[in-house]
Symmetry: C2
Subunit: 328 residues, 2 copies
């Protein structure tokens, strides 16, 4: 059975989803919906039409899953509950503090309409969350560590670009190697925010901009940079476009803990991702969960789900027998 997928939006993440669908022969991209003029959007997949989001209700009953590729700040809190009334939806909502509220809104829509949606898929939240949960269950007496990077933080890059005199800018979050090593040693160090990550900024200034002002404005910015060791490099637009166009990211999840009657045996669980393309990897996760969500809905399991609720087998195109025989 082919899983019929629609994508709402056509930015970087949506293109990552589109590429992932090509790598999963049991899935099919049926439609792209946009808030822009549909004539201005051209998909890479042959034969797939682009529609105005206003006509999305015409697809009721024609899609197994709608993957919503919008922003967590304003798009998803509105869109996922709304479209869950009609479709099984998947999003990558990543404002950790607001997940419970978002969950409630989506769950209500799903239960009233016999749909099944999954929120907060991707790698963090997503694969990193799964690692945290498994590791906490296995080592109840332990400590968690999550490191991000090396990779581009969109929020911090945006913050740089809002400073007067900045033409373009990009911020890399970089885990501190000595902090990683301290965690890997199993000693269970207490690490402050500053000790875990450094921030490196590449800034293209406007002509005649006050570089000292910009550097100070970045390094003292509360919440974003003030609590970190921050380095600012001024570069030309040419270098920026040549060296900083990528969307690489990644990170590490650790749990260290002890077992035994005397708690004297130490264990270290480490999971890491090194991703050339954050949106393509995230899109690949979303497509795997589309498979799971369409199966759950077919079984009559309605409501909002998270990655915690999905048995790993539901993500796979393999038969249960083949999984047991070849991957267990």
């Amino acid at each position: 059975m082919t899983i019929k997928i629609g994508i709402l939006g056509y930015g970087n993440l949506a293109k990552g989803v589109e590429a992932a669908i090509r790598q999963n022969p049991d899935t099919k991209l049926c439609a792209v919906f946009t808030r822009r003029d549909p004539a201005s959007v051209k998909t890479k997949t042959e034969g797939v039409n682009v529609y105005s989001v206003d006509s999305i209700m015409d697809f009721k009953g024609k899609l197994d899953v709608l993957i919503i590729c919008g922003g967590s700040a304003t798009d998803l809190p509105e869109m996922t509950p709304l479209y869950s009334k009609t479709f099984n939806c998947i999003d990558s909502f990543d404002t950790h503090a607001n997940i419970p509220k978002h969950y409630e809104a989506v769950d209500e829509s799903c239960k009233a309409n016999n749909t099944t949606s999954l929120i907060s898929a991707g790698w963090d939240p997503g694969m990193f969350s799964i690692q945290r949960l498994y590791a906490n269950c296995i080592l109840p007496d332990g400590k968690d560590y999550t490191f991000w990077g090396k990779g581009v933080s969109q929020g911090h890059s945006d913050a740089i670009r809002r400073i007067p005199g900045v033409k373009n800018g990009k911020q890399y979050t970089i885990p501190v190697e000595s902090a990683l090593e301290a965690v890997r040693s199993g000693k269970g160090p207490d690490l402050t925010t500053r000790q875990k990550h450094t921030r490196v900024c590449y800034v293209v200034p406007e002509e005649d901009a006050d570089l000292a002002y910009i550097e100070n404005a970045i390094k003292t910015m509360p919440n974003y940079f003030a609590d970190y060791d921050t380095t600012v490099h001024f570069i030309t637009e040419e270098i920026f476009n040549r060296d900083h166009a990528g969307m690489n990211h990644g990170g590490f999840v650790f749990r260290t803990g002890v077992t035994g009657f005397d708690k004297d045996n130490r264990h270290i669980i480490e999971y890491s991702l090194k991703l050339d393309s954050n949106p393509e990897f995230t899109g690949s996760v979303l497509v795997a969960y589309a498979r799971a969500i369409s199966r759950l809905n077919a079984k009559g399991e309605y409501g909002c789900k998270t990655v915690f609720d999905i048995a790993p087998a539901l993500l796979s195109p393999l038969s249960d027998y083949d999984m047991r025989a070849h991957l267990l």
Copy 2:
């Protein structure tokens, strides 16, 4: 609700399960069953009696889960199907090639008796299998690598000890650092068995034993050592007892793969375990799955399960809300 657990067997793994139950306040050890004389076995947990396995049927209806700590060669293929007729069982069956057959036998017992059992829990099979499955679903176009060690291989240690002239022996499997680095680079190397692991043996010879004979017998042993770079160290019994009494183990699971329309973005997923005590870590995994299995049985989901069938949330003592709020 407290999860009432029985343990069958009282070797290293069973003791690891017993210690893990202490770290999970919602679980309780109710009984230990042994094939030895029960009077000869003393548990570490106050107030827990040891019974002959012959009286295990007296506990029908009194245990939520029976954790069977037996060997994969002869014990588990017989025990898990047998006791699944009466109890929800968990085992750590680890003969990968025979998993499908074992699954069928246990599934038949469970379905005929409305019980729920889980086979092949631990770290490989177990946590490593889960990593392989998730990573395969996310990166369908990629390559898998599993490395074991540094750690003690029981099977290889046994093989050494069967050589005439060997009084005691232990074998460590060690991943080749350059092979790990080649995989981490994302280049997707093809690696032979010999290129991935080396084997280091510590041997206590009998008095007047022929050391050259022993070393040659080890290094040329088919299946076990002939395909590896093997080093043999002869040591005294004192040094053996001082330095080689531990049960540490661990390993690495990688998947590297590509995404994108031109498949030009590379991603590296790495999971690793460094375990001071193989049996205590394995025991901790088994206890987490005991929680899941008792919940599934209470919901009327009968049959044989593997780690692939268990949603991560089922392993946790936390409420769904707390998981979403704090771990997602």
